[in-house]
């Protein structure tokens, strides 16, 4: 962070007039940290709530994780789901879940995982049962995931989240300090939990792409925290007045506008994905949208708030050299 620009010599009055023309011309002065304890309490309660929700309602796992067979077909004209169920029943798949997918001629058929013996042949048999060839039914996709592959993905997915947390924590400890790392990780877990809670509450399908969204989100949400921490450090170095509490409040206020704007752009693209990207990226877009909104809150109250509660101090952040200079006069 290089500095050293000569201070401006502009007349104060002129500056004032000019700047007033800007939107959000002033740094907002909201005392965010005043509610830090309330914020932490609310977040903790919400997290517990989500955990209970996950425990009792669970996630609507897609076949990527559960294993099973999924067949999507398009009929040449509108089709009644009962007719499809009848065809399937006659073919020996009475317990198939049949639903419309996007339109009344687009049908999604799901079958629970069976024992692994020859389950790959199921998809072919389903098409046969539907009378695909005679009725001009067009195959859109078949997905078959063996139970063992699904189980592995569940394990690997959980591990992936864990490694992402650890990697980010190490990086923040290296760049900042452990109290901040704790705050950042708490915020990440908080964000991931809130998104999972949302997905569970509305029973949005959780597939591999959703997991990808959550992992991307973990990196992205941390973005916020880092920007605030960076500013806290800078302000601590530059301003020797003010308590840590005031410096943090100032930093949050200074970066607030930037957070809002970035989130607006990210929300814009995610909305575009949600509206036009088609069903295969729905859960991805939804998770991102929820995550981005939650991340704004958590970067202020969870990560920064927790760092303060943990007692982060001026000395924690100042590089040793600068500290010597500070103490010299």
């Amino acid at each position: 962070m290089s500095g050293g620009h000569p201070p401006p010599a502009q007349p104060g009055l002129h500056k004032f007039r000019k700047l007033n023309m800007r939107i959000f011309a002033k740094v907002p002065n909201i005392n965010f940290m005043a509610q830090r304890k309330t914020g932490l309490w609310v977040s903790s309660l919400l997290s517990v709530g989500v955990l209970l929700l996950l425990l009792f309602r669970s996630l609507n796992f897609g076949i990527d994780f559960t294993g099973g067979v999924l067949v999507e077909v398009v009929y040449p004209q509108t089709v009644e789901l009962d007719a499809v169920r009848q065809d399937l029943g006659a073919g020996g798949y009475a317990n198939a879940i049949v639903q419309y997918f996007g339109g009344s001629n687009d049908v999604l058929i799901r079958l629970a995982p069976e024992d692994k013996s020859n389950s790959a042949a199921i998809s072919s048999k389903v098409l046969q049962a539907l009378g695909a060839e005679q009725k001009g039914v067009q195959l859109r996709r078949i997905e078959f995931v063996g139970p063992q592959v699904g189980d592995e993905l569940t394990v690997n997915g959980s591990l992936a989240m864990l490694f992402a947390f650890i990697g980010i924590a190490l990086y923040i400890m290296f760049r900042f300090e452990w109290k901040f790392a704790v705050g950042a990780i708490a915020a990440l877990i908080h964000d991931a939990l809130m998104v999972l809670g949302f997905l569970s509450l509305f029973q949005v399908e959780f597939d591999l792409t959703t997991l990808a969204a959550i992992l991307a989100l973990i990196g992205y949400s941390n973005n916020e925290t880092i920007v605030i921490f960076d500013r806290v450090r800078e302000n601590l170095i530059n301003q020797r007045k003010g308590t840590i509490y005031e410096v943090v409040n100032l930093s949050v206020n200074q970066t607030l506008l930037r957070s809002v704007i970035t989130h607006v752009t990210t929300l814009l693209v995610c909305t575009a994905l949600y509206l036009l990207g088609g069903p295969s990226v729905h859960s991805f877009a939804i998770s991102m949208i929820v995550g981005v909104i939650v991340a704004t809150y958590s970067s202020i109250y969870v990560s920064t708030g927790l760092a303060i509660v943990l007692g982060v101090s001026r000395e924690d952040l100042l590089p040793p050299k600068e500290k010597e200079i500070d103490e010299m006069p």
Binding site: V74, R140, G157, A160, Y171, L215, Y220, I226, G278
Partner: protein, 617 residues
């Protein structure tokens, strides 16, 4: 304000040019094409072009272009109807020695191709096709190996004249009981000599029992062999399917990925993947094979076959010396003289029979007969395709017996490619370990096309929204950010094309997401500039400070997103890997475009002007 260093502009322009060149092939679109290769993998004959030309003329098809492109013959056609007609005609004309596949050939001009520029490959979710994940049954492989030892070890001890009183099998070991300790010791020594791959020990509870277990190394080797064997078999079969750019690849210890772009008929693929092959070692009869082939009268006790190479008739005795299921290993190696050879290992039963046979037949020829049951597509009188099972029986090797051998022997006198091919064939004819399909993903062509359309539309809408927002909010600086963003997208596409990474639907989502995240760097910078202005800095100083101070923050923030993508990449299942690559690439390039790119523009526009204020809200 210092002008921005010239070399930075030079770097920026170079990067822009490189990006444009390598992203360009994606703009040219594709021709429907027919792609022809040889099943054997050999180069095409010199006069192949004439043959193709004649066939096409006979059918009244005029190709747009028909030429050799990187060892494949590519016939480019105007439309899909002509493509199908051409493929059918060529399949009929060329027979089963050639792979005739439908493909889409990029229209990238030659000068670009010479620079190594190629379009991105599309994932199966975008172009349609099937994906199978197959798993080799390791437990079965190990169980069979133990069963083989259960026969082999006692047979060996009998030959060595060491008496045992009982044999049985525990989970993964062979147990041999002896009456006396010195018999056990003798057996242990003899077995250690003959079967170095076995770990031998005596359980303390039963001092008269010898436990023989495959060493971990040996267990790993047989699993490896089984997987490799399946790989080669699958590759051979996939070749017969006539698929352009098939992928047959090992994944992890015991899994095989098969990806067939463009294939829809999964039933047929499953049939083919499940086809069985075997082989037989048989004695060559010295009767008149040519005469038998001409008259159709075959001497008693023999059968007439043809060689795979050259289609020469051969008479083989009906008696089978060793069958594929008894072959435990086949490797191409070099013999003592350093010339290419194939070394073969048989199990106990076959080794005994081979020993007895070679003892009496030194100097006489012995042949390997390869049998495969495959599904082929033929055409009836109306030109409609009919799927039929066909039994292929071909002689793949004839060699003179040079000495008496049993368990292990070598076939020599081969060229190195011949040795390699023979080993591959022997392996694919050996008893294949059972394979299960553990994952299948089929995407129909209409869904693939829909996905591309949706992804494109979402990207355009996302880009437009971000553009409008940035320009309304930041005015001139918004334009800089948008210019940087567009360059970023070009660089992502160029990067994906250079890496030949696969573009998937989640990959497109990653690209769209990058648009949102990449402007973050510019937002950080611009907000900083506004702050500096607020604090009373001059516009020039504010620009400089904004860019300088935001750099590290942006880098820090990007690193954490990268950590997430790296983990995601390591988790790596197909489409999600595409997402990770796209996002990672987008973040790396954004660090360049958002900072260097937009800064260059800002300096270009503002450095030489006198400014009272900046047009930034």
């Amino acid at each position: 304000m210092q002008p921005y260093a010239t070399w930075k502009y030079v770097v920026l322009i170079l990067v822009m040019l490189l990006g444009a060149v390598y992203a360009a092939p994606n703009l040219y679109g594709e021709d429907p094409a027919v792609q022809i290769t040889r099943v054997s993998g050999d180069p095409l004959p010199a006069d192949f072009g004439e043959l193709v030309g004649k066939t096409l003329t006979a059918e009244g098809i005029t190709p747009a272009l028909s030429e050799l492109e990187s060892q494949q013959w590519i016939v480019r056609l105007g439309d899909e109807t002509a493509q199908l007609k051409t493929a059918d005609a060529l399949k009929r004309e060329l027979g089963n020695d050639y792979v005739v596949a439908l493909n889409l050939a990029s229209k990238t001009p030659t000068w670009l191709r010479k620079l190594g520029a190629k379009p991105m490959t599309l994932g199966l979710d975008l172009r349609g096709g099937v994906h199978f994940l197959l798993e080799v049954d390791i437990d079965d492989v190990k169980k069979k190996a133990v069963e083989r030892y259960l026969n082999d070890l006692p047979a060996f001890l009998r030959k060595e004249d060491i008496r045992y009183v009982g044999r049985h099998q525990s989970a993964d070991a062979v147990l041999l009981d002896f009456a006396e300790a010195d018999k056990l010791d003798a057996a242990r020594k003899a077995l250690a000599r003959e079967y170095p791959e076995l770990a031998l020990n005596v359980p303390t509870a039963t001092p008269l029992t010898l436990e023989a277990r495959m060493s971990d190394q040996e267990a790993k080797r047989i699993v490896d062999f089984a997987v490799k064997q399946n790989l080669t078999t699958l590759r051979n079969r996939v070749n017969q399917l006539g698929v352009a750019e098939p992928l047959v690849q090992r994944q992890g210890q015991n899994r095989i990925v098969v990806q067939l772009p463009g294939v829809q008929d999964t039933t047929r693929v499953k049939d083919l993947l499940g086809a069985t092959a075997t082989l037989e070692y048989r004695a060559v009869d010295d009767g008149d094979a040519n005469g038998a082939a001409a008259t159709g009268v075959v001497p008693v006790g023999t059968e007439l076959f043809y060689t795979r190479n050259g289609h020469r008739p051969v008479l083989l005795k009906k008696d089978v010396i060793a069958a594929g299921s008894q072959l435990t290993d086949a490797q191409s190696t070099v013999d003592q003289d350093g010339s290419p050879a194939v070394s073969v290992t048989l199990d106990g039963g076959a080794a005994k029979k081979m020993f007895e046979f070679t003892e009496k037949n030194v100097g006489k020829p012995m042949a390997v007969l390869f049998k495969e049951r495959e599904v082929v597509t033929n055409y009836n009188a109306k030109g409609e395709p009919i799927r039929e099972h066909r039994d292929v029986e071909e002689v793949i090797s004839i060699a003179t017996i040079r000495g008496v051998f049993g368990k292990r022997f070598q076939t020599t006198g081969l060229q190195s490619k011949e040795a390699y091919d023979l080993a591959v064939l022997l392996r694919s004819g050996a008893l294949a370990a059972p394979v299960d399909i553990v994952e299948e993903r089929t995407v129909g062509p209409s869904l693939g096309a829909d996905n591309i359309r949706r992804g494109f539309q979402a990207a355009v809408l996302g880009l437009t929204l971000v553009m409008v927002f940035m320009i309304v909010y930041y005015r001139v600086f918004g334009f800089f950010a948008i210019a940087a963003l567009v360059l970023n997208i070009v660089l992502i596409i160029a990067g994906l094309s250079i890496l030949q990474a696969t573009l998937t639907m989640p990959g497109i989502a990653g690209m769209v997401l990058t648009m949102g995240i990449a402007v973050d760097a510019n937002v950080l910078i611009y907000e900083r500039i506004r702050e500096e202005l607020r604090d009373g800095e001059t516009p020039h100083a504010a620009i400089e400070a904004g860019y300088d101070r935001a750099f590290l923050t942006i880098a820090d923030a990007n690193v954490t997103v990268l950590i997430g993508t790296v983990v995601l990449f390591a988790l790596g299942a197909g489409p999600v890997k595409g997402f990770a690559i796209t996002l990672a690439l987008g973040i790396l390039t954004s660090q360049f475009t958002a900072i260097v790119g937009s800064r260059s523009l800002a300096y270009l526009v503002f450095a030489k002007r006198k400014l009272k204020d900046l047009p930034i809200w």
